[in-house]
């Protein structure tokens, strides 16, 4: 498996695509400096103000992680409550759907008014954006248990808590990780959106983008975008690594010729 991932057939196509994109970008930027900054300008911004980008990246990352994990935690607890109390699921799931289809950008200004320009509205928005996908996946995961395994523990008179701990939680883990792969990068979106709306705070990569864009400083804008992309990749990679570590138990430790 590992050896195969080192093969040229695997890394060469994306590498060529990336090189092509960089070349096209550079060609276009030379002739249209007000549409795209040159790559060298982006690089210069990053290398001449490392402190600026690091500081703002930390702020955005903190908003995304605190808000995102709070949102996922609350969604999970609510999924448990909904699972065990059907009435609550019937009452609240339609509301959650409405919340999900309402564009979050539309609610964000109201949240800023309500919670001020500090970190709170950013946490709230990051939490809201991950809430629904995590809730739905957690609910599905809690339900998706081998029915014959449920029969088996029923004949042993296992308690609800035992069934939850021994069967439902482990069975739902693949769903929770699938949700986290969506939600963790999504929380970054929530944090940046919140910063766009509450730009007065003068912190975070979103704020940096808005400020730089109003000054026509495309080099800084794209430098911030590059940092955000790197954050997104790092967060996604961390979730995938953790998933491999935890869910490795679900598959054979040594390959049996199966994927």
């Amino acid at each position: 498996m590992r050896r195969r991932s080192l093969r040229a057939g695997v890394w060469l196509p994306p590498a060529i695509a990336f090189a092509g994109l960089v070349g096209a970008w550079q060609l276009y930027a030379i002739h249209h400096p007000y549409v795209l900054p040159r790559l060298s300008a982006i690089k210069m911004q990053l290398s001449s103000h490392p402190g600026l980008f690091t500081r703002n990246a930390w702020t955005t990352l903190e908003e995304a992680l605190v808000g995102g994990f709070a949102g996922m935690g609350i969604a999970f607890v609510l999924a448990l409550v909904m699972f065990y109390v059907r009435v609550i699921e019937r009452a609240l799931l339609p509301l959650a759907v409405v919340l999900n289809v309402t564009p979050l950008v539309a609610i964000a200004p109201a949240l800023v008014v309500a919670f001020g320009f500090g970190m709170t509205p950013k946490y709230v928005i990051a939490a809201l954006i991950v809430f629904f996908p995590f809730l739905v996946n957690a609910l599905t995961g809690l339900r998706d248990v081998d029915p014959e395994a449920l029969d088996l523990v029923a004949t042993l008179h296992a308690s609800r808590a035992e069934v939850l701990w021994r069967l439902r939680l482990p069975s739902s883990l693949p769903y929770l990780f699938a949700a986290a792969r969506i939600c963790v990068p999504l929380s970054l979106v929530g944090a940046v959106v919140a910063e766009f709306v509450a730009a007065g705070d003068a912190k975070g990569l979103g704020t940096l983008i808005v400020t730089a864009a109003s000054l026509g400083d495309l080099g800084t804008v794209y430098a911030a975008v590059v940092v955000l992309a790197a954050l997104g990749v790092a967060l996604f990679g961390a979730v995938v690594a953790l998933q491999r570590l935890v869910l490795g138990r679900y598959a054979p430790a040594v390959g049996m010729g199966r994927k």
Binding site: A149, L152, A158, P170, Y250, M256
Partner: protein, 267 residues
């Protein structure tokens, strides 16, 4: 009586779509007996087993396990259940899957001389697979794990729902003998549902033939072959005669079912 079914009635569905499954079933299974239930699809044999396991409640009638309601038996962990599919947890090793029954409902009285999980698995030919994951095992080996899991907490009654239905004929035979070997010394009462005539005769002290026409017991055929039985029993004239008798009984049942559907359909 180890298991006692009295006047059992059970239907599924509602309104115009009610399907009658059991209609007045009386059956008693003595302690230590190995009893097989056989019959065509829809005769209610699996429902009968699920009633004894407490997974289904009867519409009328009672099921008693050693004189007490089923719920008393499950609370005390006296019922070992082997479902159709092995139902192993993919995130647990073979050994941890077998230990699962010991980890739930710890309030139940623990067995006096609990069988050792490793010894059980070794006796079933899985001594080298203790730390493997279920997915690494063949279907037959997975079913052996499920059998070990049913024996590990030393229940007095074993309920097995077509446990060998999903494996090929050769694996089936070796599973059959593996089961007989660990059951023979255990003194457990077994209720075993199957589709296979040979399996029923090879395993049982008595075969209960159920009918899809009457939704009840058609006949109880005693199997007086000597024990312990090995694979050579299956080539003896006595075995073949019993197998033939059972086949004829089943054929009689399906003819009745065909004619009764016919009369039910005609106005």
């Amino acid at each position: 009586m180890a298991i006692d079914f009295r006047g059992l009635h059970k239907s599924f569905g509602r309104g115009s779509e009610v399907v009658k499954v059991l209609d007045g079933v009386d059956l008693s299974i003595r302690r230590g007996q190995f009893v097989t239930v056989i019959g065509p699809s829809g005769c209610g044999k699996t429902t009968l087993l699920r009633l004894a396991a407490g997974l289904v409640r009867p519409d009328a009638g009672t099921v008693k396990v050693f004189g007490a309601p089923v719920s008393t038996a499950t609370e005390a962990k006296r019922i070992g259940f082997v479902p159709q599919a092995p139902a192993l947890l993919p995130w647990r090793s073979v050994l941890d899957n077998v230990l699962l029954p010991l980890q739930v409902n710890r309030k139940a009285p623990s067995p006096e001389s609990p069988p050792d999980a490793v010894a059980l698995l070794t006796a079933l030919g899985l001594g080298d697979a203790l730390n493997r994951r279920p997915r690494e095992l063949s279907g037959g080996m997975q079913q052996r794990v499920a059998i070990a899991r049913a024996f590990v907490f030393d229940p007095t009654v074993l309920l097995m729902d077509e446990p060998f239905a999903a494996v090929d004929e050769l694996t089936r035979e070796s599973l059959r003998h593996a089961l007989l070997e660990i059951w023979q010394a255990s003194g457990k009462t077994v209720l075993f549902v199957t589709h296979s005539v040979a399996e029923a005769v090879a395993l049982s002290d008595a075969v209960v033939v159920m009918s899809a026409a009457t939704h009840g017991v058609q006949r109880v055929l005693p199997i007086d072959l000597p024990r312990p039985r090995d694979e050579y029993v299956e080539t003896t004239p006595e075995f073949l005669a019993l197998e033939r008798e059972l086949r004829l009984e089943l054929r009689k049942g399906s003819r009745q079912a065909a004619s009764s559907t016919h009369t039910a359909d005609s106005p």
